[in-house]
């Protein structure tokens, strides 16, 4: 097995939530390898641990035990600042509820991750313009999120995830707040990005959308119970 093709390697990842006296095992011993350019979906009933897994993949949360290598680099023991740096450079998030910042216009929202990277204003403008072009939203660059429909907001969110050229896109129920037509458009966009070489990990419990992925992983009670190749 060639390791340099691996983008994500999870080894025996366990997540336990501790509240006063009760331990809840959200994830128990997850092994998962994701190759560069792969399109993986994670499915499972509510409470199976998919969101927790996505948070750990996105370095928003840390595992209780186990190792996580991103681009062959262990990221399990990084401090908050280092984790923020990795998030900024390697990961693009797409959320169910879009999570655009209401006070910033479309351009500024897409620009934000680049700002945290310390990129020069000129480079930022180029990158933001390209990303908005890619999702077909460049004509709304100076609009506030509240002036956009849900489908448009999600496209802006995708542009924001893309702008920093991350190693992987993490999508958490990206169509959950959209009607079928807009949902289909966003899925189409993700499929195109994948065709262009992007690595995508998507949480969904919609079987139809899981079908877009090359590989579907099913979680149940914090464990991987099934993998399907498409």
């Amino acid at each position: 097995m060639q390791t340099n093709g691996h983008l994500i390697q999870l080894d025996d990842i366990t997540k336990v939530f501790l509240t006063d006296e009760v331990e809840t095992h959200a994830l128990s011993g997850i092994h998962l390898d994701i190759l560069k350019g792969e399109y993986v979906s994670i499915a499972g009933p509510s409470g199976c641990g998919k969101s927790t897994l996505l948070s750990i993949l996105g370095l928003l949360d840390t595992a209780t035990a186990g190792t996580y290598k991103l681009n062959n680099r262990p990221v399990t023991d990084l401090n908050p600042s280092e984790r923020a740096r990795v998030r900024n450079q390697e990961i693009g998030f797409i959320f169910q509820s879009f999570n655009l910042i209401g006070d910033l216009d479309v351009f500024e929202n897409v620009e934000l991750p680049l700002t945290y990277r310390g990129m020069s204003p000129g480079d930022r403008k180029t990158a933001v313009t390209a990303a908005l072009e890619r999702v077909g939203m460049s004509h709304r660059a100076r609009h506030l999120p509240s002036q956009l429909s849900g489908g448009q907001q999600q496209r802006v969110a995708v542009a924001r995830a893309l702008a920093g050229k991350p190693s992987v896109l993490l999508a958490d129920e990206p169509t959950g707040n959209l009607d079928s037509r807009n949902g289909d458009q966003v899925m189409q966009l993700l499929a195109e990005l994948h065709a262009d070489g992007a690595t995508i990990v998507m949480v969904t419990h919609d079987e139809r959308f899981a079908g877009h992925a090359q590989r579907a992983i099913h979680l149940f009670d914090g464990r991987v119970v099934e993998e399907t190749k498409h």
């Binding site: 948070s55 740096r85 999570n99 655009l100 910042i101 209401g102």
Partner: protein, 846 residues
């Protein structure tokens, strides 16, 4: 489990919040209670125990003319007392100063009232001990030496029953104590009371030494009485006026033949602050009271608004709990009630702290006032009580309720106006605000204004501290080292000034012979004493302007000192030219007339120098119309007479024998100049003086340093520093809590945004900066504004403070530093909390 129990549990759960809230409320309510207690004590609380509304002051003015008021004659008083149409009772009173003491040694100059026999009964005052005056004792010329003493003076004398019947010396004469007034009894005055009340019958005897003219009360031309009356049942101040003309006629019929014109009576509610021959209104004080209460109310309002922000911030975290309660069937009213109960518990805790603070603050104020009154030239009782009483307690409770409504009703209404479906999912709404709106929203502007105001207050406090420090270190031109001051007033023993002279000389020589005494002299005007007496001199050859021009006055004016030889050595004033008075000049009547001036006077009169040997005279003629000439024999260094003002006073010194005075100070300088030595010398000196003269009218004895310390100006500077310091500190604290509140609220509203930023790679430092940056910008704007305000305040303060620059960079710098540090510190906590936002929770959208 009831609302109260839950409220208390909630408060214990977040002790930091509770502490900040209770402290804010405590300060705000404390300010209100303290000021209410002040206003209540000075303006509102009834002074007369029994039916205060029916007591009036009676005045007599010229009929048909505005003004022309005078006191009443005894005959007029009697006539009024005999009428029953308007007044049910009428009493007469007047006041004077008298030397008061059990013996000569303990004698002090005191405020004394002479009153009619019904004085106490008219006020409804039940004497603590003994009796009031009889009709016989109040009859003019009866000269029965009896006295009623104040409760405080009775306590001062030992407070025992056997003081009744014992002897009290009034101006050296023996009086029998026949009664003790009720505790705190002051007649109709709100602030002060006399130590002693004497019967009208001894008026002539008492006043003979003060007035050379007619002092017989029986004389219808002696107008020496003020009149207080109790209105007859059913008569009010307003309807009394229509009935007064009848009384006018009766009084006018009594008037001696050549009195000028008819007079008219007037009645008015007695002033709480004055005993006057003409009607005076307390309106000014009332207005001041309203102003202070309004200021206090603003403090409470601001504190409450700040607190409301904190509650909103907390509310964001509790939105879910509240939505849930509503979902479980609670009516909105129920939930609002629960939130109000939580607020009330906070407010009551704050009220408790506030009550403690106000007790403390008003206690400090009173003792400080007492201290400065002690330095006045006569004594009286401070009867006003600023400590919160039951009325003030009720007011405090009212403040708590008002505060609760202001700070918790808004958030409660806001929090219960919920969209159930959304809040249970914890989807914070997205806010579309421009960055400038975020920075300058009304709640932010309010906090910024508070910061600006606090800066001005803190800067003012700093200026006062600087002023105090400068006044303390500034060279006044003399020295207090090793100095002791003893005050004697022979006028209280009815000794004429010329007769006191040999005694003073003898005492001075006796003190000079005491071991350890380096120098001693008589002086009538000790530096920094709280009064001034000035005279104006001009060159002997210059004619006196018959019609002085209003602007420039003739000659030179100086603080007038009557002294003996050795004064300059005793207080360390260098003689620049010429010489001191010789013992012959200062001690012997009839010696050639001489004068010593300070450099300021010398320069004014003789700009080209050569003052020594020149002759000068007073601008004001002596009683006999002459202006005797004096020769300048010395020029001494200029000294300060007060801490205020940039310009020091000029000074004149004349020998005691040339202008004898009965009321003087001995200024002693010890060889050992340590403060401890001066203190230790006080009892030694007292023994020596008492041994010298058994009926010595010693009024005060203290170290020179202590006299300076009790200077009214020094007190004002200290009080200013304390007042601005306390208010500045309180304002600073409230403002800091305000800053904390708005940013905590901002962070709670931006939790989701912060989560998004973190997911996009914002480091903890970036998030921290996001919140701190906003705080820093606001602080900078607020401080910029505050500097303008502070410089304005500085102009005012510098105009009264000695040698303080209105731009004092040290004071301004430190005030800005303190304010900026406090604001950023307050911002630090919300900013740190922002870095701990859990992006997972913030972004969860199920």
């Amino acid at each position: 489990m009831n609302d109260l129990k839950f409220a208390i549990r909630q408060l214990f759960k977040s002790p930091g919040f509770t502490l900040a809230a209770v402290l804010t409320l405590g300060i705000a309510i404390g300010v209100n209670t303290a000021i209410f207690a002040l206003v209540n004590g000075a303006i509102l609380k009834p002074i007369v125990a029994q039916d205060p509304a029916s007591i009036v002051a009676v005045f007599t003015g010229r009929k048909g003319v505005d003004g022309g008021y005078r006191q009443f004659s005894f005959a007029e008083y009697q006539a009024l007392r005999d009428t029953k149409e308007v007044f049910s009772d009428v009493c007469a009173l007047g006041f004077t100063l008298a030397g008061l003491g059990k013996d000569a040694e303990s004698q002090k100059r005191s405020f004394a009232f002479y009153v009619s026999d019904n004085y106490f009964s008219l006020h409804g005052a039940n004497l603590t001990l003994g009796r009031g005056f009889s009709a016989a004792e109040s009859t003019p010329g009866s000269n029965l030496p009896v006295a009623v003493i104040s409760h405080a003076y009775w306590r001062f004398l030992g407070g025992t029953d056997n003081l009744l019947g014992s002897t009290l010396r009034v101006n050296g004469d023996a009086f029998t104590i026949i009664g003790v007034a009720p505790r705190g009894f002051s007649g109709t005055h709100a602030l002060v009371a006399p130590d002693v009340w004497l019967p009208l019958g001894i008026y002539s005897q008492l006043s003979s030494q003060w007035t050379d003219g007619s002092s017989d009360l029986a004389n219808p031309r002696t107008h020496a009485l003020n009149i207080l009356a109790r209105l007859a049942p059913g008569v009010t101040v307003d309807n009394a006026k229509s009935r007064l003309p009848v009384l006018d006629e009766r009084l006018n019929a009594l008037a001696p033949p050549e009195s000028g014109g008819a007079r008219a009576l007037m009645v008015q509610k007695p002033s709480r602050f004055n005993i006057s021959t003409e009607p005076e209104s307390d309106d000014v004080t009332g207005v001041m009271g309203i102003v202070f209460l309004s200021l206090a109310a603003i403090v409470l309002l601001i504190a409450c608004l700040n607190l409301a922000n904190m509650l909103l911030a907390r509310g964001a975290a509790r939105r879910k709990e509240i939505a849930l309660r509503l979902a479980l069937g609670a009516g909105r009213g129920r939930v609002i009630r629960q939130l109000l109960v939580e607020g009330l518990v906070l407010a009551l805790l704050g009220g408790l702290v506030g009550l403690g603070l106000s007790y403390w603050a008003n206690g400090v104020l009173l003792s400080s006032m007492r201290n400065v009154f002690e330095a006045m030239s006569f004594s009286f009782n401070l009867v006003v009580d600023f400590t919160p009483d039951r009325t003030a307690l009720a007011a405090t409770f009212a403040f708590c309720l008002i505060a609760t409504l202001i700070f918790s009703l808004g958030p409660a209404l806001n929090l219960t106006r919920v969209d159930l479906a959304n809040d249970l999912k914890q989807q914070a709404g997205e806010f579309a605000h421009s960055p400038s709106h975020r920075l300058f929203a009304p709640r932010h502007l309010l906090v910024m204004a508070q910061l600006a105001l606090s800066l001005a207050l803190v800067f003012s406090a700093a200026l006062f501290f600087r002023g105090g420090a400068m006044a303390a270190t500034a060279d006044p031109g003399f020295t207090t080292r090793g100095g002791v001051v003893a005050e004697l007033d022979y006028s209280l023993t009815r000794l004429k000034a010329t007769d006191a002279l040999p005694r003073l000389i003898r005492l001075r020589d006796r003190i000079a012979a005491m071991p350890g005494v380096a120098s001693v002299a008589v002086n009538t005007m000790v530096p920094y004493i709280n009064n001034t007496d000035a005279k104006r001199i001009l060159r002997a050859g210059d004619p006196v302007d018959a019609t002085p021009s209003p602007g420039e006055k003739q000659g030179a004016s100086g603080v007038y000192h009557v002294v003996t030889t050795g004064l300059f050595r005793s207080v360390g004033i260098p003689i620049l030219e010429g010489r001191d008075f010789t013992p012959a000049e200062s001690d012997t009547p009839g010696a050639p007339r001489t004068i010593i001036v300070d450099e300021k006077v010398a320069k004014k009169l003789f700009p080209n120098g050569g003052a020594i040997g020149q002759r000068v005279k007073y601008l004001a003629a002596s009683p006999d119309g002459t202006r005797p000439e004096m020769e300048i024999i010395g020029v001494v260094r200029n000294t300060r007479h007060d801490v205020f003002g940039n310009e020091s006073h000029a000074h004149l010194y004349v020998p005691l024998a040339q202008a004898p005075e009965a009321s003087v100070y001995f200024q002693v300088r010890l060889a050992n100049e340590s403060p401890a030595a001066a203190l230790a010398f006080l009892p030694v000196l007292r023994r020596e003086l008492v041994a010298a003269e058994s009926d010595l009218p010693l009024q005060s004895l203290s170290t020179f340093a202590n006299v300076i310390d009790r200077n009214f100006g020094t007190w004002t500077i200290r009080a200013g520093a304390a007042l601005f310091g306390v208010f500045g500190g309180a304002a600073l604290l409230i403002a800091a809590i305000g800053v904390y509140g708005v940013h905590a609220y901002a962070v709670s509203r931006r939790t989701r945004e912060i989560g998004i930023r973190m997911s996009l790679g914002a480091r903890p430092a970036d998030v921290f900066q996001l919140i701190m940056g906003q705080g820093a910008k606001q602080t900078a704007v607020a401080l910029g504004l505050g500097v303008l305000l502070a410089l304005g305040a500085g102009q005012l303060i510098a105009s009264v403070l000695f040698r303080v620059s209105p731009y004092d960079p040290l004071a301004l710098g430190s005030a800005i530093f303190v304010l900026g540090a406090a604001a950023l510190f307050a911002c630090f906590f919300p900013a740190r909390r922002a870095t701990r936002v859990n992006p997972m929770t913030a972004l969860r959208s199920e």
